[in-house]
């Protein structure tokens, strides 16, 4: 089974330096694109590859690039930004790539920048990824001293330089327009669209924001071609995907597998199934902002097309498992605490609504739940849903709640009837809010 994105990763060792990376065919894709292809050729290849964004929304990458103004009359400079903010709870895939193979980040950005004729790139990295920051600094410096970044790459008239920007901790910075404000040194609140970043992004110039894993795919598509790439996946969607599992399973972890591998295969064959003494109740397929799926959906392929059939989304492809010894109400309460805290406060439905939801869930967990609370929660999932807020943080926050009310309703009701959390020992003191 081919694992292009992770093939060079050597666990427990420093990642490959530039020479080692080149020995394994590194920078061939960049050389090939710049020397033998036009930017339009690269764009066409990526469109035909079926690559969709791996940051959560799954937007077609080639289509996104097609909105960038091209040619001598395009506004300049144009920017390429790698979104390495990765703060969605339960998501831990981009860290693996960045720490395991930083040169692949640099090369993929050179190839992508060439495709959209960008001359400046930023890697927007979350502050806590200190190891990734050190390794990326080194990779960028090595690439620059070898002439793979800077002026006239590979003897062409294409010039591209790349910078690392480390953030300071705020989930909303991962939203692409908030990220742009953050990079400009403003408070990281989202911008209204249109204009879309491809037309007017960083400092008003054309900008493409792309997830780390998405970018890593690009260099392989250029190096090996569309047929090869499409052949890697199961079904219509090509390529591989980094899938991950956390929670009470035997072997939590992340694996690069064919796109469209079933949930069951990932959960049972790779994560080893549930830990001794725990049984499966449900899972969030792709991070904190996706809806629960249950036993009935385990044979669905993990891809962008199939998860909506179970009322959910693939999101980032990193699953969080709920077991029978963990309280589903407490689970959702933890998530809503996160979303309420991380709301940027720009629009009222989100910043008022999310803290209200959090307070209702606190009440249920602490034995103060009332029967009407479940209707109130359901009302919130409608009022804070898609289209009612400035950005996707708030609707994303409602997905786990709405689906928990559907799949685990009896557990919510038990909290109300028993006036306590059934998962807590009687008399156990309730800690500070977690």
């Amino acid at each position: 089974m081919e694992r292009p994105l992770t093939q060079r990763i050597r666990p427990q060792t420093e990642p490959m330096n530039l020479a080692e990376y080149e020995d394994t065919g590194g920078y061939e894709a960049a050389r090939k694109a710049v020397k033998t292809m036009t930017p339009q050729d690269v764009q066409r290849l990526v469109t035909d590859s079926t690559l969709r964004g791996r940051g959560g929304a799954g937007f077609a990458t080639g289509l996104k690039w097609s909105f960038v103004p091209m040619g001598p009359n395009a506004p300049r400079p144009k920017y390429l930004v790698a979104n390495a903010d990765e703060m969605e709870p339960g998501t831990f895939k981009d860290r693996l790539l960045l720490e395991g193979d930083p040169h692949q980040m640099v090369e993929s950005m050179v190839v992508t920048a060439y495709a959209i004729e960008a001359e400046v790139g930023y890697i927007f990295l979350r502050s806590e990824y200190t190891r990734a920051a050190r390794l990326l600094h080194k990779a960028i410096a090595e690439a620059r001293s070898r002439g793979y970044l800077g002026r006239n790459l590979f003897g062409s008239d294409f010039s591209f330089d790349l910078h690392l920007h480390t953030s300071a901790g705020r989930y909303i910075c991962g939203e692409e327009t908030a990220l742009l404000n953050s990079l400009e040194g403003k408070r990281a609140i989202p911008r209204s669209k249109p204009p879309y970043p491809q037309a007017a992004g960083l400092w008003g110039k054309p900008t493409v924001v792309q997830n780390v894993e998405t970018l890593y795919n690009v260099s392989h598509i250029v190096r090996h071609g569309v047929e090869w790439y499409r052949g890697l996946g199961h079904g219509h969607e090509g390529g591989t995907k980094l899938y991950g599992v956390s929670g009470n399973v035997k072997r939590p972890g992340a694996w690069e597998l064919p796109m469209g591998t079933t949930i069951r295969t990932i959960l049972e064959d790779y994560a080893g199934g549930m830990r001794e003494g725990f049984s499966f109740r449900g899972l969030l397929p792709g991070g904190a902002s996706t809806a629960f799926v249950t036993e009935a959906h385990l044979d669905l392929p993990m891809n962008f097309e199939s998860l909506p059939r179970a009322g959910s989304r693939m999101g980032t492809g990193t699953m969080i498992v709920l077991d029978d010894r963990t309280c589903p109400v407490g689970f959702v309460r933890n998530l809503e605490h996160f979303f309420a805290q991380e709301s940027c406060g720009w629009c009222t439905p989100c910043w008022e609504g999310l803290s209200w939801t959090e307070r209702i869930l606190d009440g249920l967990e602490e034995g103060r739940g009332r029967p009407e609370d479940l209707d109130l929660l359901a009302m919130h999932t409608r009022l804070i849903g898609p289209g009612r807020t400035f950005c996707a943080l708030a609707p994303g926050a409602m997905d786990p709640l709405q689906s928990a009310l559907k799949h685990f309703r009896a557990d919510f009701e038990r909290h109300i009837h028993e006036r306590r959390c059934p998962w807590r020992e009687q008399g156990e003191t309730i800690g500070a809010r977690g």
């Binding site: 990765e86 703060m87 969605e88 709870p89 339960g90 998501t91 831990f92 981009d94 860290r95 979350r126 502050s127 806590e128 990824y129 200190t130 190891r131 910078h163 690392l164 920007h165 480390t166 953030s167 300071a168 901790g169 705020r170 989930y171 953050s182 990079l183 400009e184 040194g185 403003k186 408070r187 990281a188 400092w203 991950g244 599992v245 956390s246 929670g247 009470n248 939590p252 972890g253 992340a254 904190a288 990193t318 969080i320 709920l322 077991d323 963990t326 407490g330 689970f331 933890n334 998530l335 996160f338 805290q341 991380e342 940027c344 800690g431 500070a432 977690g434």
Partner: protein
């Protein structure tokens, strides 16, 4: 009130951006690297250096969880309280750290050794529960492991 070294490091950061304001987060982080936090005096000098008003810069500073506008201890403990770590018992570990260090969430110990803060998912959910101290990530935590780890930070 910025030392020459801080100033030099900030100038190096600013070279990566077409305007000064864009480097403000990195600049505040340089100050934090040297002084632990961003005092009112440092903020004033920084704002001047970046051609921003103090209010603008403070508006950015207060937006971020990891820009400290109050003094912190020598070692900042960031304990993940997000979902995968919660499933694996981070609440109990918080209780343990609290009783070991004698400080609650958001507090700094009297000897200035530790500040304890919650943090959202550190992207190491497969090794939950996790925490960071300074630049170091500590994974698969247990109460005993935490005791040994804390000893390494005098």
């Amino acid at each position: 009130m910025l030392t020459d070294q801080v100033r030099e490091e900030i100038e190096a950061e600013l070279r990566r951006y077409p305007d000064k304001r864009a480097g403000c987060v990195e600049a505040m982080k340089v100050v934090q690297r040297h002084h632990g936090w961003v005092s009112d005096d440092s903020l004033k000098s920084l704002a001047h250096l970046l051609d921003m008003t103090c209010e603008e810069l403070d508006g950015v500073a207060t937006f971020y969880n990891l820009i400290f506008r109050k003094p912190v201890g020598r070692h900042v403990i960031l304990l993940c309280d997000s979902i995968s770590c919660w499933i694996k018992g981070c609440d109990a570990l918080r209780g343990h750290v609290t009783s070991r260090s004698g400080i609650g969430m958001g507090q700094t110990s009297a000897d200035g050794r530790f500040t304890l803060l919650p943090i959202v998912c550190l992207g190491a959910c497969d090794h939950a529960p996790v925490m960071m101290i300074g630049d170091d990530l500590h994974e698969d935590l247990t109460a005993e492991k935490i005791d040994r780890i804390l000893e390494r930070y005098p």
